[in-house]
Symmetry: C2
Subunit: 466 residues, 2 copies
């Protein structure tokens, strides 16, 4: 026993700096007002009402279409009805495409139809389509390594094995077939391209998404097969016989108008930089854009509404429902042009579904680390882990974060996000109301901390009623 006691005393006498490294940070007392706002938000109905309303009364709202225009009208009316100030639409021009006939038919050796959708910026095959033999690759790199002669005049198929991860990290690496595949195939002389959908489900619902032809590559027809169809094509190719495909991907380009819808909770001190919260209003055209991104604008807006209902924040909260995110972050670009050089107190965007928030990262700068830790402490009871203090991202706000704007990243659980993303299956029934409310609670608590204090709004003195 003696030896053990000595050893223990020796350990306790270790140099102080070493011990200090492991000492817990000083305790944080979360403001009871923040706690109360957070917990009340677990009963929120605003986010559901917005998500249900937008997806039901507008449905799909592809960038630049008349449907997106109807969505802006709907959004402005809803934001006014909720009592927000300075509701406005800021328009900008965009180019996009209308989807037409789409099919991928195996003509030989085993005649059958596969389910396909055009990717954004695909060339059109016209209604009769193109017919060519299919050559398959396991990855974009395998395509790059192939001799041009193996690809020229063919329809290229690119497979991959994207996993479902909580943080959605598969989408970066395994999205390459969609992002780089069309350019690489075109430069090698392919007449068309089909990829395995960038998705983690097994439904006959292809995942579309935007791509562009780079390095002077000529636009060619480019589509996504649903995952079961891609697996079918792999099996057919494995039989070793020439595989002939007729690919029809009709698309018609148009020039249209898009826009951002903006509203505010005016702060007590209008001279202070605002807090930007948002998501994107536009969607792809196959589903009703419930998880992408009706729920995102709904979460941000519900949290701002709950702050507004509690009184007046010190800082202005600016809500932005961005337009044309899906086809190239054009709403974020327009906002950045107009306001990007002005200081913002923080930027936050919700664009990864409506499943629970599991982590909060922040990039508020070293001087505001205590504020970031306070947010972490306020969210911990919701099961949210405090992540990094030098990281945050977002789609529309991404470029402005790179410019140096402070930001908070509330990471949603993306395990099932890529089952639904950019497919016809992105519909209201995929939203879990309980997890949606957890999002609103996390956002509300975060805004309650960032807002600089919420004070009662003095009732305006009324004239006598007559």
């Amino acid at each position: 026993m003696k030896k053990l006691v000595v050893a223990f005393l020796f350990a306790a006498a270790a140099p102080l700096p070493l011990l200090a490294q492991n000492a817990p940070p000083p305790p944080i007392a979360v403001d009871p007002k923040v706690v109360a706002l957070r917990d009340a938000a677990l009963n929120d109905d605003y986010a559901w009402d917005i998500t249900e309303g937008l997806t039901t009364e507008v449905g799909q709202r592809k960038a630049g279409t008349e449907a997106e225009a109807r969505a802006r009208v709907w959004a402005a009316a809803k934001l006014r009805q909720l009592g927000f100030a300075n509701v406005r639409v800021e328009e900008f021009p965009v180019q996009n495409q209308v989807r037409g006939l789409e099919s991928a038919e195996i003509l030989a050796p085993f005649p059958q139809k596969l389910v396909v959708n055009a990717l954004g910026n695909s060339a059109s095959t016209g209604p009769t389509g193109i017919t060519a033999d299919v050559v398959g690759f396991d990855s974009v790199d395998a395509l790059r390594l192939a001799p041009d002669s193996a690809v020229r005049g063919k329809i290229v198929f690119i497979d991959h094995h994207m996993p479902a991860n909580q943080d959605g990290s598969g989408y970066g690496q395994f999205g390459a077939p969609r992002r780089q595949g069309p350019t690489v195939a075109s430069l090698k002389g392919a007449v068309g391209l089909v990829i395995r959908s960038i998705g983690t489900d097994h439904n006959r619902t292809p995942h579309t998404g935007v791509m562009s032809f780079a390095n002077g590559a000529k636009a060619i027809p480019a589509g996504a097969l649903s995952v079961p169809d891609a697996e079918q094509l792999v099996r057919i190719l494995k039989r070793g016989k020439p595989v002939s495909m007729r690919l029809v991907l009709e698309s018609t380009p148009f020039e249209g108008t898009s826009g951002n819808v903006i509203a505010e909770v005016p702060g007590r001190d209008p001279s202070l930089p605002p807090i930007l919260v948002g998501g994107h209003l536009d969607s792809w055209d196959m589903g009703t854009g419930a998880i992408d991104d009706a729920s995102g604008v709904a979460i941000a807006t519900a949290a701002a509404k709950r702050i507004m209902d509690a009184g007046q924040p010190l800082r202005t909260i600016r809500i932005v429902w961005f337009g044309s995110e899906e086809i190239g972050l054009f709403g974020g670009e327009d906002y950045r042009k107009r306001y990007g050089k002005l200081p913002h107190y923080a930027m936050l965007e919700s664009d990864f579904g409506a499943d629970k928030i599991y982590k909060v990262d922040s990039k508020l700068g070293d001087a505001r680390k205590d504020e970031a830790r306070m947010i972490g402490a306020a969210l911990a009871p919701l099961g949210v882990v405090t992540g990094k203090f030098d990281a945050a991202d977002g789609s529309d706000i991404g470029p402005m974060i790179e410019d140096g704007q402070p930001a908070i990243g509330l990471s949603q659980d993306g395990t099932r996000y890529f089952d639904l993303h950019h497919t016809s299956n992105d519909t209201l029934d995929k939203i879990d109301p309980a997890q949606l409310r957890q999002n609103v609670a996390a956002w509300t608590a975060t805004l309650a901390v960032l807002s600089g204090g919420i004070e009662p709004v003095p009732k305006p003195s009324r004239g006598k009623r007559r």
Copy 2:
């Protein structure tokens, strides 16, 4: 203690008939050959090979089409390759329809497109479709109770709330909108009908299925909305504004040829009634018919193959891959006409997917109850419960069971069957290889008992090689 002992003795002295009712049945010793065949089948590859081959090399095989004809050629070749005897195709004529353009577009108050598929025997709207206001009902009974004036000239929508049950029992009651809905709507003067798909999933993949117009009802266009689309229509109708829909359901009738593909494992005593095992070869046209019913013919055939490989059974096993099941059990009807009056030793059909068998019912007659109990004992180690001794069913064989043919019912777990049934999502990736093998093991053990004993096949004496 004394009182307890007396009570116990008294109980033991209860009248014998009462005790006899509760006595366990005599123990059953399962033949080690049956056990060995059953357990070896848990490593079966035949069923997967057939399912994979038929769905990959043929794909969809709608009744009466050239695709079903290709499937018969594929089936006969496969059955010959596996070594079965008396492989033959028995053709019969059928009428069916080819699917054309299909859409259900809400024109007002919230313009958007819903996903729809025509039901079997729907009238065609032609390519321009029909436009009318939608009137919604919660059930066929609610439609029946409505005044004709509320329905005349309208497109009727019928909702329901089919649950997912292991035994598939929701399909009977909640299938009414598809089976009776079109007739009731037509007789009340509706110009068209859309139902909530008879399915338990939330994918944008409508469930088709056959129906017919009865009682002199005029054929009208009749389609199934996917479940998310039906829920969307409910929400839209709940807003209380008139809902205008343009419904396009194109279909073109044709007269074609269907047929059954038959093969045999000849028994040692050809004079004995055969055992019929089967499933159906045709499928709906949207998926590749993996669970409905490539896996069914595969399970029945794999089990027969495993018996054949073990030697020669006493009784002939006859394998039937029925044609045109989906459009009205016409394959079963053709077989019944040709052979239905001949005695069969037992009939078994697999047509409920490929998930595990959880129960065995039988209808072999009182004289063969021990045989039925023997089958139950052989299957128990696979987790199969012994069910009733006076029940068994099947789709193609159903009418012959009603005629009095003996039958065994190996019930599959149908919990997720109606997620996929009659949709584009019925593809190979939905088959769980482990559960498929459990099916083959149960079928093999059942056939091993029914076959009357398997003996080594005497090697034919060879002439000298030169």
